[in-house]
């Protein structure tokens, strides 16, 4: 019925003839602002089929001395944001493939992966609150109660979509609608609302925000404004401050603006989108603003590297020097002529919480000479035993990094 009406409508349009020749050309859409004519850059193809274990790039991974990586779980296409349940189940969200996974460990050390939800629109936001799993998809918030006791018989989730009241797909215009979620030390859920364009003037109370809620969706609070697209959030284990990764805009050059690591010192502070990134004024949207009026990033991570999940290292397995430092998964660039990222880096913090340096931690997935990549780290997760998981979205694998003196 709808289809027939649509076809009739199109037929009418076709018969109506060349009325379009009178119309002005439509304004350039937000995603294409600044896009150079003749550029051939486009997002990379995702791999959403299962990759055979012998093809996983684990042998290519490079780590500092004493660390080693092994495959923790595989056959999890599109795996992204992770969270660990109280009984040790690792839950993982995805984007395009629309699934939520639960990964449990068998007594022999192997793992078992279950698909516990599917058909969702970009369910990337995964957070455990007590025994309950929250899933944040586009404009949908679902709560799976007592999840670890029910992995073989997943209960119908509690629908909290209306309570959280996020902008919907049409509001986002297809831009930056995926969520990341974390539980704050205050018991609130922290998440993001991305910008509804690449670069444009936005409603700064609705988009490009970090926000927090009570777990029932009430008492929305803006934690930070002017954050274009954060896909990684974590609280400092000592200072309890919120930290976030943030993606800079596309089509402004190979090295500008930087993707950033930001630190929210006071609830509600402004990080500058769309006007500035750090001291860099946006060539289209600066609107005469002085960049020094905005909160400055704690670290510049490079243009287009795509920092996703971040975690403070809170375990004891790694050497003391790693304690309370930040691991950052960098998914890697597409909007840049030479590939960059595709690794896990560590931001070193001093006692005052200032970043003193960003250094490589897990490398080897970027084949620089041939300009190809072997995997795309999308999240990191510190397990209770102190090991570090790295989710590789491109290969559908999770690697586990351990340390031994």
């Amino acid at each position: 019925m709808t289809m027939k009406r649509l076809l009739l409508g199109l037929a009418a349009v076709l018969i109506a003839g060349p009325a379009f020749s009178q119309q002005p050309a439509p304004a350039v859409p937000g995603w294409a602002v600044g896009r150079p004519e003749g550029s051939a850059l486009a997002p990379h193809s995702p791999r959403l089929t299962v990759m055979a274990p012998d093809q996983l790039p684990v042998a290519a991974l490079r780590l500092p001395p004493g660390f080693s990586a092994a495959v923790f779980a595989h056959g999890i296409p599109g795996v992204r944001a992770m969270a660990e349940g109280p009984n040790g189940t690792v839950f993982a969200g995805s984007r395009v493939i629309g699934r939520v996974y639960a990964i449990t460990r068998n007594p022999d050390g192997t793992t078992r992966t279950r698909v516990i939800a599917q058909g969702l629109n970009n369910p990337n936001g995964i957070v455990m609150v007590g025994n309950n799993l929250f899933v944040f998809a586009l404009n949908r918030v679902l709560r799976y109660d007592n999840i670890e006791a029910n992995l073989d018989n997943i209960p119908a989730p509690v629908e909290l979509t209306a309570a959280f009241g996020f902008p919907n797909e049409a509001d986002h215009g297809g831009n930056h609608f995926w969520k990341v979620a974390t539980l704050g030390p205050d018991g609130r859920i922290y998440t993001n609302v991305g910008a509804n364009c690449n670069i444009c003037s936005i409603d700064r109370d609705r988009f490009a925000l970090l926000v927090s809620f009570n777990p029932d969706g009430s008492d929305r609070r803006i934690e930070s404004r002017g954050v274009r697209n954060s896909v990684g959030l974590a609280h400092h284990p000592v200072t309890r401050e919120l930290w976030a990764s943030n993606h800079g805009r596309d089509w402004a050059g190979n090295d500008v603006p930087n993707d950033t690591l930001i630190r929210v010192r006071r609830s509600g502070e402004d990080h500058g989108y769309p006007f500035c990134v750090g001291s860099w004024a946006d060539p289209q949207e600066n609107a005469g603003r002085n960049c020094s009026e905005f909160s400055q990033p704690s670290a510049l991570l490079g243009g287009h590297v795509a920092p996703l999940g971040i975690r403070f290292y809170t375990g004891t397995m790694f050497p003391e020097a790693y304690r309370n430092q930040i691991f950052i998964a960098r998914r890697g660039s597409w909007n840049r002529e030479r590939l960059t990222g595709y690794d896990v880096v560590m931001a070193r913090l001093d006692a005052q919480g200032n970043v003193t340096g960003v250094e490589p931690f897990m490398t080897g997935l970027l084949d620089e000479a041939n300009q190809r990549f072997l995997g795309r780290p999308a999240d990191v997760q510190v397990l209770r035993d102190g090991s570090l998981l790295v989710a590789d979205e491109q290969t559908g694998a999770i690697y586990r990094i351990t340390y031994r003196q």
Partner: protein
């Protein structure tokens, strides 16, 4: 230098390449049911059903997964794709990628005005950036040259109205603000490409 060479050798051994996993011959057997609608040679002769001949492997693989997972909703395809194993999808994709692309037999003649209007929109919308200059597509981005005209138009309407998304949302952004006549013109222009 030696270390770097060794590292490269290790890499080469570790990644024999995803393409080897795909078996187009096996895909040809699996594809028999597909051809009833998508055309004997992968060129659809049926209104509103797309041609698959020469579509990039990644594109077909991705779309079949979206059908299987119920994320791209086309009831007939959701049914065909239900429970289909990854390997079947990859082999089907390899098969269709290898077919020679071309227009449907019933392609209508070129309408000069419509064609010119479409051509005028293609540049500002940067279509060739992703679909490549001959519109043959690459990786997860489809071949749109010589595709069925009414199918191209419907797809763009679906992207514009948020009823469809790809691996990313570039297409939703690309068609923002296009009017129905704009879409009809672009569809005509692309359907006429060979």
């Amino acid at each position: 230098m030696l270390a770097r060479l060794l590292a490269a050798a290790v890499l080469a051994a570790a990644f024999p390449g995803a393409a080897l996993a795909q078996d187009a011959r096996r895909g040809a057997d699996l594809a028999q049911t597909c051809l009833a609608c998508h055309g004997d040679n992968g060129r659809s002769q049926i209104e509103d059903i797309p041609s698959l001949a020469g579509q990039p492997t990644d594109f077909i693989t991705l779309q079949m997964i979206l059908f299987r997972e119920g994320i791209r909703r086309v009831p007939v395809m959701n049914q065909f794709a239900a429970d289909i194993p990854d390997r079947d999808i990859e082999d089907l994709a390899a098969y269709f990628d290898g077919l020679r692309p071309g227009p449907p037999d019933d392609r209508r003649p070129r309408d000069a005005d419509l064609y010119a209007a479409g051509q005028a929109l293609i540049g500002p919308r940067h279509c060739a950036t992703c679909h490549v200059p001959d519109f043959g597509g690459r990786a997860q981005i489809p071949r749109i040259a010589a595709q069925r005209e009414e199918f191209l138009a419907r797809s763009m309407v679906e992207y514009r109205e948020g009823r469809r998304a790809g691996a990313d949302t570039q297409m939703n952004g690309a068609v923002v603000g296009l009017s129905d006549p704009d879409i009809a013109a672009i569809a005509h222009y692309l359907a006429q490409q060979d």
